[in-house]
Symmetry: C5
Subunit: 314 residues, 5 copies
């Protein structure tokens, strides 16, 4: 036992200590997520998420690199690039779970929204369950909330139920916390105060891993703006802002990773990774920037990001 404990790196041990109220099952799955892939043991994560087929449609997601229509492509890409985990909706996970059993931690994205209906105040549909995640050998469930949507309550309560069930089954819970809706301006969705608040809400709801967008220096809410200014919270650089988000997620006691957003220049992504690293963020979740380029380019691109986070060199 003691030996095993020692094999874990210090970074992972330190993080797991923040989850000491969780049961051994959930802690074991967090351990798996933190000790898989090129970043194993570093306390950092790079996750490959592929829910865009559901969220944006197949052609918008895969036509540029048609290999991606095939669900096996993504599981293999995640392994080839050394990601910590692969996240996708039920269909994509079912299509690969048998063949890839045990080869990479899987995160079952249990709610989704498609683009055929446009909703100012969105709420996703639950598309799979904790039982699905268990049957398919997943390490975690993923769930999106849209704080600020008038439908906030239904989402939070669905998350509450699924989280309780997941924790009881020894799974980890990953929350995509994306503020949106009539109460929030377009700029506000990535505003500093709003992103920090989104991280806090996910943490208070009991999320083990929190996924938010990278924040701008926009301040959305007047009551918050006043406090940021009077107390002098430093939000001038991206790494300062990452630091404040991490602080807002229980002073660094919850794993916060940042999403890449739409396709952009490689250097821009690398700069973001450096800012996340410098601000104490735990890593990135990178979808379209990975699977929308050819396989070998994607692997190289992801390796560069992992190197920034301190991953093992080949």
């Amino acid at each position: 036992m003691e030996t095993l404990q020692k094999e874990a790196t210090g970074a992972v041990d330190k993080i797991l200590a923040n989850y000491n109220s969780d049961n051994p099952g959930t802690r074991a799955n967090l351990y798996r997520l933190l000790t898989s892939g090129r970043l194993a043991g570093t306390g950092k994560l790079v996750v490959l998420p592929v829910d865009q087929g559901f969220e944006h449609g197949p052609a918008r997601s895969f036509a540029v690199n048609p290999a991606g229509y095939n669900p096996s492509y993504h599981a293999q890409l995640a392994i080839d690039a050394g990601c910590n985990a692969y996240a996708a909706p039920l269909g994509f996970i079912r299509a690969i779970a048998h063949d890839y059993a045990g080869r990479i931690p899987l995160i079952l994205k249990v709610n989704n929204h498609d683009s055929l209906v446009s909703e100012r105040d969105p709420i996703p549909a639950q598309t799979s369950s904790v039982d699905d995640a268990l049957e398919l050998g997943c390490a975690a469930i993923g769930f999106t909330i849209y704080p600020g949507s008038t439908e906030w309550r239904a989402m939070y309560e669905q998350l509450r139920e699924l989280s309780e069930e997941a924790r009881a089954a020894g799974l980890a819970v990953v929350v995509w916390s994306y503020p949106r809706g009539t109460n929030i301006s377009k700029d506000g969705e990535t505003g500093m105060d709003i992103v920090a608040y989104a991280a806090q809400i996910a943490a208070q709801m009991g999320a083990h891993i929190i996924k938010v967008k990278l924040p701008s220096d926009h301040l959305e809410q007047d009551a918050a703006k006043k406090v940021y200014q009077s107390t002098g919270v430093n939000i001038s650089t991206l790494s300062d802002r990452v630091k404040h988000v991490v602080q807002s997620a229980f002073d660094g006691k919850r794993i916060v990773i940042f999403s890449g957003g739409g396709k952009k220049g490689d250097e821009a992504v690398f700069d973001e990774a450096r800012a996340i690293r410098d601000g104490g963020g735990f890593g990135s979740i990178i979808g379209r920037n990975s699977f929308q380029r050819p396989h070998d380019e994607a692997v190289k691109f992801l390796h560069t990001i992992m190197d920034i986070y301190g991953g093992k060199k080949d």
Copy 2:
């Protein structure tokens, strides 16, 4: 075991391999569907669906060929024509399940919408259950979703629950995926991007068999249109479009069949079947074009279609 395996044709084995995360019960029912009727072992399916009595009313469905008022007529027609399966709502299935037990795979259509209420954003009522399907010896449940309807979420979540229950009971799940509602134009309902998206959604929801309409070359959504054009997706002929739909259903790893729509000229239907075959589609689901003509004509008509798909000659 090995012997049995060999008896299955290569085409069926190849398809079943795409469902290897499913339990033996569900795989056995998919096997039954693929090895029944004139197309047994070819990997192709022609299914007879008769839910029009519920959906459009009895006279509009059966007055032209009054033998169809009798539920036994359809089960017998499906057998006489060598269909892979017969699909209908609870009442029609209950009326024949005792007499036809084991003679043809049955698909219980577990939700339905009638034409007494006109809804711009429709959602069917659940009219039967997985327990009904089991009690009546069915191989699968059938479920309609209307992506694009403002009621999308309720349908997806009902499908999720029923699918989980069906899979656990060893049944297959057939999803009728018909985009419709205020968010979609009339042309859009069969638009290329929309039909492909409908197939993707059904696949991501975990459907084993997906039923969509044959797509036109209309492109409905601006964001999709841009991608179709920039990446040069080939959608010029019907078989090209079928191919793209099959690609959108996990690169051919999910069975996609196409519905015939309203009554039309025989040659038009045969041409459609050829396009489905040439595009790699898995077959047809043909209702009104079958049961709204005299029995012997219908059998001959269906045999011609099956011949196109490579079925056994008498």
Copy 3:
């Protein structure tokens, strides 16, 4: 066993054969309904329903014949007149179930609507359950749906759940199918196409016995009208229309009975019974025309109707 089977008349045997997918419990209760009272063994039914106290209020229902305020009056009337069954809401059934246990088949009406609220698109409240029906020794549950109401889905789904439960418990399911709501004109409620559709829906939902109104020759829906005219469905006399309704309920494979409606002249009711008989209908359900006249007159009146259907003479 064989002997018992022989005691059943041919007419009942023939009807029961149409319910051969049902379990022995439900078939036994259908048998009880078909072999009770003066019409026992004829394959015809006359049922006494008394839910008007709930639906219209006590004075409107019983003031004209105040003996009817007493729940025992109706159970006794049904027995004295030789009805096949007595149908009523929970309170009325509870009030007589102990004393009349076993003496006449009881149908528990499990949903009701009162007249204190006026709704253009009505939906009744569930007022009792399958467990109530079992506890009280009933042979069947009765349930009203209003096809065409914007609330159609909720009613159909409630019916689905209760039917599944009832069938599993060996009870029969009687569906009152009364089209109504913003989608249907006043004339349409008894229009030929609408009543036939209502019968089809109830049959597809799995009803064992279907209660509809007598249809007029009005055709409500354009799409249906076109078909009635092009295919020459004969709907000129009342018995032709009854015949078409019976055809629409699985070509005569489901028991369809017709409601009498408000109080009217005796000869009119008798003419209706003759038309039902001539059209192949299975009988009548007669409430206000029975219990709103003195006991002995009501018995005589019901006997006349039963004689029309071929019942035993005293």
Copy 4:
């Protein structure tokens, strides 16, 4: 057994015979209600209800006699005055159940509405459960419905579920049936036709004891008015109207008690009790007129009412 049976007075035996479909548990609790207090064995009831703290607020209920802020006060008052039962919401019952266990039948009022929200079409909140009633040793649950409210269906269905549960647990069900809402005028709330209808609905829903308001001679609904006039229902005096309400509750086969309403002159209350007695009503439920006066006055006042109903003299 036979001996015990004989100890019951004829009046109670006669009433219990009307509940012979109920299980021994529920019949035992009805027996307790009918054989407790000064009116024990007379077949009459006077019940003390104290839900006004919840319904109207504490000061409006208790400031005039501040002893009433204390929950023990009311249980003791009910015992001191010889009431058949004490009815109150969860908090008040929990506060005295331990100390008063077994000393007086308790009715747990399981739904309540406060006055902080004004609703034209009201529906109370469920505030306690059948399990609470059992845990606290209650003889019955009490439930308010507002027939005529657009929310009628939700209330009826909640009542249905709770009643089934209560009956199965051997509890009695007391229904407060108070028509109200956009469909009913202020005068209509106590109109003769409406109150009679309210009693009928409660009886049809399966209530064991029905509480309604004393009716005026107002007739609210045109369809009912016509019948009252054509059939000559006698509603001229209060006792005539009580008689018609009792008739409307299954011809006297269900216990109907009448509420006193707001504080009024003593003689007015006594006159009402005499009318209830003369019309065959089963008693009164008297709240504010009891606990809003000093204890000894209240006891004397309630004794006078009980004397009118034929209670034991001290």
Copy 5:
């Protein structure tokens, strides 16, 4: 046993006697709350609540004293200051439950509302459960209701269910009762009649501990105003008003504590504590005034308040 009983102070025994209908588990947890910290045994409570991170956002809550971003800070502060209990949402409690197990009674706040959505008639989301509270070793659950909100019914019914579950599991139930919504003016939220009513409602719903705001002498509702004036309820000083609130919570038989509200001058808080003490209130629940100042100042500030309530001196 007897010895243990004696160790309990008279004040605690007297309070526990008011909860004698509760099971030993719940009474043990109330005992724990009353015998922890500096006020142990006095019958008074000072509770530290930290849900502002969820309710107002992280920066608005913690930027002024950034140590508060760390969840451990608050548990330690509560212990250092000698509070009776620490109350927080799921995330904050999970983050400290392992390390602080047994060291201080925990109250799990099971519903929360964030500030990203502005609702005129608010209703919080349920964010954790009774099972969470048990798993984390909590002594009680906390639940907020907003009487006067149009969503009142949903909140009361959620509270009812959770309370029943909590009581059955031996937990205590703390209700935050904060009138709010379209039916109540801004002044009305702390109006005398409204706060007293809020306390009554919480008590009637079965709350063990009630948290309300300190009332002003504003009277909101006309019907109440009339009674306050006619019966001469004394509400002139703050301690008079506290006294009336305590009276409205079952004449002092339910524990009522008062919230401090936003940050204000120390002397103002101390004056409020004196008024609470003089009016017979059971204590305070103080959040922002505690954790938004440096640790040692906060401890000193809380000690001063506890001294006012008669706590042990160091």
